[in-house]
Amino acid sequence: PLSSRCCAPSGAAPAMNCRAEVLEVSVEGRQVEEAMLAVLHTVLLHRSTGKFHYKKEGTYSIGTVGTQDVDCDFIDFAYVRVSSEELDRALRKAVGEFKDALRGSGSDGMGQISLEFYQKKKSRWPFSDECIPWELWTIKVNVVNLANEQERQICREKVGEKLCEKIINIVEVMNRHEYLPKMPTQSEVDNVFDTSLKDVQPYLYKISYQITDSLGTSVTTTMRRLIKDTLAL
């Protein structure tokens, strides 16, 4: 089951509660990428809409989101993702960096990757825009080393089953129909959605990760902004 709590957003206006969900997986090194992608894509499937097209009088129409099946090579598992190559590339890039960091020195094979959905609140000069998170997904990863092929085969199946549970957990959270940002006007749309992709429109999100060293402390915190608007004055 997911552990769920509400937390005040870090370093931003405390007006809003941000719900946080944590998932944990134990995987073999070569399964890290696929497992992360499966979870992230499943979340983003639910948190992406078609492109908005605003018309006069404040009405808008919504484009169509396509989906496709993805089979994992190292896990007995398949998942559905949004049909958007840009989005897939962005996620793969982040997951790839996470995987490399996990493999790097100082890592005990433990780390976590976070997907945060936020809203931007424009501030007047000289204050910079605030990013107010409203949903935070954290995947804690524990990389295991396996001794032989038989164990690997079992791991393929076990991780597959675990991921099925995670998908069910994610869907449960999505079904609670808790806070979602209000549908924005045309002038506000970039404060709520990532409009930089050409075929779909996810809510504004950022992905970050942390690697734990063998002492249990975080040695690397890397923020990666995956949206265009990254520089705040």
Binding site: T42, L45, H46, T49, G50, K51, H53, Y54, K55, E57, G58, T59, Y60, S61, I62, G63, T64, V65, G66, T67, Q68, D69, V70, D71, D76, A78, Y79, V80, V82, S83, S84, E85, D88, L163, C164, I167, I168, I170, V171, E172, M174, N175, H177, K182, M183, P184, T185, Q186, K198, D199, V200
Partner: protein, 550 residues
């Protein structure tokens, strides 16, 4: 009193949403059990025809079945729409795997905005359904279907019946959406007691000819399980015969199966037929040369028993995968995603206001663009590609190629004998004609490439029929749609397949011929004592080496 708060326009919209939601739910579930990867395109321009802003194709037969089951009604309290997924083996055993239930309960949410919040939440629920359909056990089973078993679906409306799922079935909730007239809930009850049907059991049997087929290889059609014979025999008696693995290897038909063909003999009772018995796996309520299947839902092993015609259609499951275009004669058969019955009328889209409090109308754009597969002509060589590049092509819509596709490689029937005339009888093309097993053994006499080209094989035979191997050629054999493992149609023009066919019967190695063999053998024997002495001297090294391997 329930409806007084709901404006009539809202009520109409809500009913429409629920109706199309039900239809899309069925599509998602059935498509997720076809046995192959689904891929649809995102489109930034609204098309006006994609319900819930999701690109979900509509397989016409499935829509037809769903509408038939609903009969103009909508899910309501006590009246649920259920999609039953079951598995049927080649022996005729059936087992219910899942029941997907779309239910309505009385808990109303009066405050909710119909054409805004309800619509968006229904869209979210469909996304959840897409995700959940891939994580229940039946998904993996359905991806491996084709030879030992097929996956069927059945839609019914009314009371949910879960008794066929065995003991200890589990439930997963996909989600709920509150509306002013009730709360829609979508859930799945699935069997966990797959006692006699474990996928592991299939995986243990060794593949034929050493080719391991990557069962995620793309196929131009949904896995045509009811029509896909792995092998067949002529003159067999009642269908309780199971060839051992060795036997089936001897006849070795489609080695390109996703699961070993050890038990996929489909036979029918001889007495019922004048002609050599066709091999069928028929779950449809159609007369098959005077034969019908008894639709047994128990889990015990049954020998095949022909039963009287007229099994109630309500009892029959429909193959998830299409059985070919016998639409006119057999309305229950699926045609397949390629054939659209016409462009559906554009549904009116709900309003999306920028202010959540108000509703504005959003007119659908002109020009219904249907993103589903379109019927293609015989010149169309595009194949359905489910690659992760997101390309989505159209499946072929050729009756001829449908049937050709179904006939396994090495089957002893040339393509040109598979004509429309034969299609009156389902699966008739599988009727063996003058089969002599030894002569037709493709292990000995490799098949020749087909004489005619079909668009499906366009990529395979791009250089013409070049694939004939050395050795005896058999006019009767047709190589069809050879799909070597890990090769994709859309990347290479099947060089691997051509290569394989050309080299699969190389001439004998000279060292294996008797004379030369005997000579070198004698030499080897003579030199043995020397070699042994050398090895004995180095025994310590060998031991050390073996140690490092432990």
């Amino acid at each position: 009193a329930m409806d007084t708060d709901l404006s009539s326009q809202d009520r109409k919209d809500l009913d429409k949403f629920i109706k199309f939601f039900a239809l899309k739910t069925v599509q998602v579930i059935v498509q997720a059990r076809l046995g192959e990867k689904i891929c649809t395109r995102s489109s930034s321009s609204p098309t006006g025809s994609d319900w819930f802003n999701l690109a979900i194709k509509d397989i016409p037969e499935v829509t037809h079945e769903a509408k038939k089951a609903l009969a103009g009604q909508l899910p309501a309290v006590g009246r649920s729409m259920c999609v039953e997924i079951s598995l049927k083996t080649s022996e005729g055993d059936s087992m219910e795997l899942e029941i997907w239930c779309l239910e309505m309960n009385e808990k109303c949410d009066k405050e909710i905005k119909v054409s805004y919040t309800v619509y968006n939440r229904l869209s979210l629920l469909l996304k959840s359904l897409l995700a959940i359909t891939r994580v229940t056990p039946a998904y993996r089973l359905s991806r491996k279907q084709g030879h030992e078993y097929v996956i069927l679906y059945r839609i019914y409306f009314g009371e949910v019946q879960l008794s066929g799922l065995g003991e200890g079935f589990q439930t997963v909730r996909v989600g709920t959406v509150g509306t002013p007239v009730g709360t829609i809930t979508l859930s799945c009850a699935y069997r966990i007691n797959l006692a006699f049907m474990s996928t592991r059991q299939f995986e243990r049997t060794p593949p034929i000819m050493g080719i391991i087929i990557d069962h995620f290889v793309d196929r131009p059609y949904p896995s045509s399980s009811p029509m896909h014979p792995c092998n067949y025999r002529a003159g067999e008696d009642n269908g309780a015969v199971y060839p051992s693995v060795e036997d089936s290897q001897e006849v070795c038909t489609t080695s390109f199966s996703t699961s070993p063909p050890s038990q996929c003999v489909f036979t029918v009772t001889k007495a019922h037929f004048q002609t050599p018995p066709p091999v069928v796996t028929d779950t449809l309520k159609v007369p098959v040369v005077g034969l019908a299947f008894s639709h047994q839902l128990s889990s015990s092993r049954l020998s095949y028993q022909p039963a009287a015609l007229g099994v109630g259609s309500a009892d029959m499951g429909y193959p998830v995968l299409f059985a070919g275009g016998l639409n006119a004669a057999h309305p229950h058969q699926l045609i397949g995603p390629g054939k659209e019955g016409g462009v559906p009328p554009a549904p009116s889209q709900p309003a999306h206001g920028t202010q959540a409090d108000q509703e504005r109308m959003c007119t659908p754009l002109d020009g219904v663009h249907y993103s589903a597969a379109t019927p293609s002509s015989s010149e169309d060589t595009e194949t359905v590609s489910n690659s992760s590049e997101g390309k989505c092509g159209s499946p072929h819509d050729l009756l001829e190629t449908i049937f050709i596709r179904k006939v396994g490689a090495f089957v002893n029937k040339p393509i040109n004998q598979v004509t429309m005339a034969n299609l009156d009888i389902p699966f008739a093309m599988f009727a063996p004609k003058n089969v002599e097993l030894e002569d037709n053994d493709p292990m000995v006499n490799p098949p020749e490439s087909p004489e005619t080209e079909s668009p499906l094989q366009g990529s395979l035979h791009s250089e013409g029929s070049s694939g004939s191997s050395t050795g005896n050629t058999h006019d009767d054999f047709v190589m069809i749609d050879f799909k070597p493992a890990f090769s994709k149609d859309d990347i290479l023009p099947m060089d691997l397949g051509t290569f394989y066919r050309e080299f699969q019967n190389p001439p004998q190695l000279s060292s294996l011929s008797i004379d030369i063999g005997a000579q070198s053998m004698a030499e080897d024997l003579d030199s043995l004592p020397e070699k042994l002495a050398v090895h004995e001297k180095n025994v310590k090294e060998f031991d050390a080496f073996v140690e490092t391997l432990q």
